[in-house]
Amino acid sequence: MIRFTWMQFRVQALVALSGLAIIAIVLGLTGPNLVHLYDTSGITTCGARGDCSAIANGLLSHDRLLQDLGTVLLVVPALIGLFWGAPLVTREFETGTFRLVWTQGITRTHWMAIKLTIVGLASVAVAGLLSLMVTWWSSPLDRANPNQFSELFAERGIVAIGYAAFAFALGVTVGLLIRRTIPAMATTLVAYVIVRLGVTKLRPHFQVPITLHEKLATTAQGVVENVPGPGAATPPHLGDWVLSSNVLDASGQPFNPTKLNCSVLVTPGGTTPSPSSAASACLPRIREYSAGLRQVITYQPSNRYWTFQGYETAIFIGLALVLAGFCFWWIRRRLA
């Protein structure tokens, strides 16, 4: 059955392999140049000069077209689900060949097991290799770009393996239920996008975020001096994933200067005293209110990046295994 599966799958496998080869050549030719640019950009010593962001932006402006190659990693798992997963069973139904192949000397369960294993492993391999290449190629850029939890999260590391496994299993499952290729492909695409977006929404909650309460520094006049942002000496550091950042007053309410009933414009970062005579009466209140202000930040530290990659991959691999189990059950019990 392994040899038969390979006989049916080898054209698709070769197409995927040539795609990978082309990408490998392009990235292999341009990658070393990026490493060189990174090494000579002076970004490692920029902290002393204070021109880090300028250098980073300069670096990130290179090979913009190729940087978009990361998007391929979003598309490839979906394509695997559509073109390898969904037709796996529907093609047998549409051409009637299920009546040929499922009456040979092997059971349907055996057939399904080998198909899922071979094509599933190929899916995982394609996505994994692609992600490896893109991650390697963009590593100089990624070191200059602190936003690793951004949309780049899905285009780097190991998550693509999980996406591909899930998309493939999803395609097979949907095909088994719908039995027609085009509707199965459409349904697979919609379901895949929904699940991916759903897990993206879940991602901030993979681990309990760290919460910081930062008292805001104020002057004697009640002026808020500055609001610490990422990159300051205290956490959150550059590269941490800030989930929320709010200024609260002493009572825990969101920052709202209007309830002081002073005709004074108060903003974090500075106050503008009004010309009115009531300003002096207001001052103590402003001072008191400002003294109670604090910034509350929740964030995921950057050292959780690989833990998060691991969780996300595990979720999708888990879903893929559940779907595969369903396929076995269905082909044995229900498809009769």
Partner: protein, 298 residues
């Protein structure tokens, strides 16, 4: 005589649609069995149940004493040529034979290759570009080279032209003559069945109307014509299958295992065609009494 297929109250339902209901039959070993019936009678359902592609909703079915599709050993014993003889359009003839070798323990490579050789097709040709007749022959080759004990063919010749049909049935007869293989063949073309079958099962509205050896059936059915007469006045051993009357004359198709003594009748033998048509067009006649050589199962 052991049974290759034995069913008891067998039924298959898709949602509310009943494809087959309350089907009880026993098909003896070592025969070439023709399964006849109008479209929608449940022939395909019955055969797919027999190869394990479907599972029964009610009742039971045993094939060669085992449960259909129950493990590789049972699968190996039954060869199946499905309706419209499906093959993989993108795979070549050689690749199909390789598939047979990969998926079947008892694969007879020499048999498969010599049959393909006889067919006079290029083995490198893709199955999708074969003619209907060639494709049917390829499907038959795949089924036969598995060396099954029972060969089940679902309307294999329905879509073929007369020449391809004859060649296909010729191949089938050669296989039967060479190997001790039981064959079940469904068709709505009675002429084809007459050529190859020695046992007949008539399925109407998912009920078995008649089953028996073709020679017994032909020896026990007669066409009587004579002066108009009420069929109820016939002797009790004569069962009317079909009747038609004019003002003066009655024509009956009857079944009996006794000699017909009444000199008023002119008695003619029936053809298989007549017989099948009579049963197909009169499905609600009460079934005649069971007889030793003639199992009528309702």
């Amino acid at each position: 005589m052991t049974a290759v297929i034995e069913t008891n109250g067998l039924g298959k339902q898709y949602g509310r649609k009943r494809a087959l209901q309350d089907c009880t039959l026993s098909i003896p070993d070592g025969k070439v069995v023709g399964l006849v019936g109008p479209n929608g009678a449940g022939k395909t359902t019955l055969l797919q149940l027999a190869v394990g592609l479907l599972a029964p909703t009610t009742g039971s079915i045993t094939v060669l004493g085992g449960h259909p599709g129950d493990g590789p050993a049972q699968l190996a014993r039954v060869g199946f040529v499905a309706q419209d003889t499906p093959t993989y359009a993108g795979l070549t003839v050689t690749q199909h034979l390789r598939m047979g070798a990969y998926l079947n323990k008892n694969w007879d490579r020499d048999l498969a290759e010599s049959r393909i050789h006889q067919l006079d097709v290029d083995p490198r040709q893709k199955a999708g570009s074969l003619s209907g007749g060639q494709r049917a022959q390829l499907a038959l080759t795949l089924a036969v080279a598995r060396r099954p004990e029972l060969l089940i063919l679902d309307e294999p010749v329905a879509s073929l032209d007369p020449l391809a049909r004859r060649e296909f049935l010729q191949s089938l007869m050669e296989i039967v003559a060479k190997d001790a293989v039981s064959v079940i063949l469904s068709s709505h073309l009675i002429a084809d069945l007459e050529r190859v079958c020695d046992y007949l099962v008539i399925l109407v509205g998912s009920h078995v109307q008649l089953s028996g050896e073709v020679s017994d059936l032909l020896a026990s059915h007669w066409r009587l014509s004579g002066p108009r007469r009420d069929p109820a006045s016939l002797p009790s051993n004569q069962h009317v299958i079909e009747e038609s009357h004019t003002d003066k004359q009655s024509t009956l198709l009857i079944r009996t295992d006794q000699p017909i003594g009444d000199p008023a009748w002119s008695v003619k033998p029936v053809t298989l065609d007549d017989l099948v048509l009579a049963y197909l067009s009169n499905p609600h006649r009460p079934a005649p009494v069971r007889q030793p050589h003639l199992g009528v199962v309702r």
